[in-house]
Amino acid sequence: MKRYSTFAIAREALRHHTGWERAWRKATPKKKYDVVIVGAGGHGLATAYYLGKNHGIRNVAILEKGWLGGGNTGRNTTIIRSNYLQDPSAAIYEKARSLYETMSQDLNYNVMFSPRGLLMLAQTHHEVRGYERTAHANALQGVDTQFIGPQKVKELCPIIRLDGPRYPVLGALYQARGGTARHDAVAWGYARACSDMGMDIIQQCEVTGVRSDGGKVRGVSTTLGEIDCDKLGIVVAGHSGVLAEMAGFRLPIESVALQALVSEPIKPAMDVVIMANTVHGYMSQSDKGEMVIGGGTDGYNNYTQRGSFQHIEETVRSLIETFPMLSRLKMLRQWGGIVDVTGDRSPILSKTPLGNCFINCGWGTGGFKAIPGSGWATAEMIAQGEPGPLAAAFGLERFREGRFIDESVAAGVAH
């Protein structure tokens, strides 16, 4: 792999950009791999990457039914934060956030990580108390956050209106090291690094069945034929229920549509990320100048990657109350992704009832921020056959045992 650098850009500029190579090889499936990962989203690719980097397992294929990064990874509003309430969440999300800080150097791929600061607005007294509690929990967890008052919010985000009629801004949970990164670049950067380690990324290859023998996984059936493997990692977000059915077990997950939209590009107006959980509105300004807005989830199971009309209206209506300047903006595009939601709003990183078959799912509306930490933990689990310290609390058995990692009270639905 040729490394990207300032020197490489200069060299290519001088020879009319004829020397760039493909970022990853086009691969055709081999008969057998040590590990097969289903799903080339951020979590699947990161899992493969750390399998190679941390555990030396490189005979790996990543199978993708569409194009890599075309699922939720390429559809999300890219918010990165680690200000969760429960200790296991803080550990894995903070691991992820800290890996984001060095990801561009690690992958030699600019993922445009921008720790611009993130505010979760408190717009009810209930939220004020909730976020004060989270700030205390974060202090104990070693996650740097603080609860700030309305004047400080206004300083950080001058376009905000503090005294909206329904939901005045009463303060915010502020994580100065939170921010955004470029979603496609995260997928592409990991894909390039995986390919460079000799792994096969096979796109347009849908897994249609899971083959097993004596309670252990043998391989998968795909639209490109049979592929054998010693270990299988299922990392397919919204389609987790479909894959689990193929592998013969059930999940505490329902798939729903979550949507987002962007405005026309405008001059820099907001250099922080704002989340308003009471009204289900989330906003940041992209480097192109578009206001990137995330909304709420639909209230019923859905695989349409589209989302209900009224949610766009609800989101925009309530955001306009807090950001009156938005009312003049035209919206450019809207899209949806199918998110996999668990009962306690926490992910599942787990062994499964099928031997040597592992699953990583349930990231729901907020897994982009977790990609590197999740990949790290899932790779460790697959390599060692048992979950390590980051993954241990997120096993499937927590539902039976009543050990929930309840983030729904802390954050409601949140990116």
């Binding site: 987790s240 229920g241 059930r250 999940l251 505490p252 997950i253 199971n301 859905n302």
Partner: protein, 109 residues
């Protein structure tokens, strides 16, 4: 936009008038049941890509609960029916079979 006809008052209601109540026809396991059965009832969910049965409430209308059979991929509605039943009635099953031959959902087909 999802539109369901309320089987009680007959109103063709669009989704803002309705409230989704999740998976239909659950067996409610209680304190004497096994851990597996209780976990299954509380947490495991059917999450099909295709034919699905759900509970809905005509929240902004007559207020009653009812059942709906629909497709989670196309949002096509096969029919709605009374809440006073523990399995989908034959006419609903036939309506689904007409459009999705060979469908199954839990033990129903």
């Amino acid at each position: 936009m999802l539109i369901l006809t309320c089987p009680y008052c007959g109103v063709k209601a669009e989704e803002t008038e309705l409230h989704g109540g999740g998976e239909a026809h659950l067996t409610r396991f209680g304190p004497e049941s096994s851990d597996e059965a209780f976990e299954g009832y509380l947490f495991q969910r059917e999450n099909p890509k295709g034919v699905h049965f759900e509970r809905w409430r005509h929240a902004q209308g007559c207020g009653k609960w009812f059942h709906a059979a629909r497709c989670t991929v196309t949002l096509e509605v096969f029919g709605t029916y009374s809440a006073q039943t523990s399995e989908p009635p034959q006419n609903i099953r036939d309506a689904i079979s007409a459009k999705r031959p060979g469908w199954t959902w839990r033990s129903f087909a």
